[in-house]
Symmetry: C2
Subunit: 202 residues, 2 copies
């Protein structure tokens, strides 16, 4: 017996979600059809809305539905003079959830990876460079992941900072090498922030 076309399509489509294999996808599809069609339809609408309405903040590149995100629009954040560079919006979120950092962000949406054709402009470093050039930023905190690519990216940005006479520091304490920043608990992240070391100072 073949499943009906819409059901086959749904089970296949559910697998775009990380961690959802064929068996989980089938169970989810049947669960929604049997017990929660309203929830299934709401999820459908929420997905379509989110995929079209959510773009990127013109200033920091994180996800935003307006031209600029809430953080970039905050005068208090703008006055901080501190810019934290992260690889992804989930990293930004993890740092925000500590409730301690009050500066601005710059979200690379990736890291330098020449082998994959990802150079400085693919991760917005041209935008970051013009920010450094404009002035108003006194310190850049490099919070890229402690992986080879993350370190390479941090090193590249540190050189940019040196060129524009902006202090750059690298978060250090407590991040397990090869680990993922957005999986850390808040305490470890705060230690990483307070234990940052200067990598370029003017």
């Amino acid at each position: 017996m073949q499943l009906s076309p819409s059901l086959t399509t749904l089970i296949e489509a559910l697998r775009c979600q990380p961690g959802i294999g064929p068996k989980s996808a089938q169970r989810i599809a049947f669960h929604l059809l049997e017990r929660d069609r309203k929830g299934g339809t709401q999820l459908g609408n929420a997905l379509i809305k989110a995929m079209t309405a959510i773009g990127h903040c013109q200033s920091c590149r994180t996800f935003a539905e307006q031209p600029q995100c809430e953080i970039c629009l905050s005068p208090k954040r703008q006055d901080s003079g501190i810019l934290c560079v992260v690889e992804s919006p989930t990293d930004l979120l993890a740092i925000e959830q500590t409730g301690q950092y009050k500066g601005l962000y710059f979200v690379l949406m990736g890291h330098l990876s020449p082998i994959d054709g990802i150079g400085p402009s693919e991760i917005g470093l041209d935008i970051l460079e013009s920010k450094l050039q404009q002035g108003g930023i006194n310190e850049v905190i490099l919070a890229t992941n402690p992986t080879v690519e993350g370190e390479t990216t941090a090193h590249y940005i540190a050189q940019l900072c040196y060129r524009y006479k902006v202090d750059a520091s690298r978060i250090a304490h407590g991040i397990p090498v090869g680990g993922e920043l957005d999986l850390l608990d808040g305490m470890t992240l705060m230690h990483a922030f307070s234990g940052r070391r200067v990598v370029s100072q003017n």
Copy 2:
């Protein structure tokens, strides 16, 4: 910082899926936005389509996009004179995947549960009764789950079969008590079928 409204709605909506908690929902939402917007939109459309297009077969009550499902429309299946009663479409699917059973099905979409207000007509037993009355069915295989409710439901249907002089058998071997039918491997399921015992014979 608050997440943007469409993103908050999406993360909440993703949780209608069994096994997806707040942390998984957030990771899925960010994954789709960062790396697979096309997949996210396709999933949205597949959900909306499936929740509206998929109804129930008028004859066996399983999921179908046409008035009758593929199995009920098969003359070979109709000629078998065997009807297997299961609780859910996933149970039907598990039995079909063994490739050995060639009869018809009747899908209860639940089981008797007086405490929850689920009586015979809520699980389609009026439709099943008229099938037995019409004739053409020589044996009913009771493949409800081996739980208290599943056994009670099987017992109730066995009595219906007795009334209409139709043999009824209960699948038996190999099903762990309290287990879920659709989680069993095909071999165990086949043993359960071949080891079925008569519970009502005329």
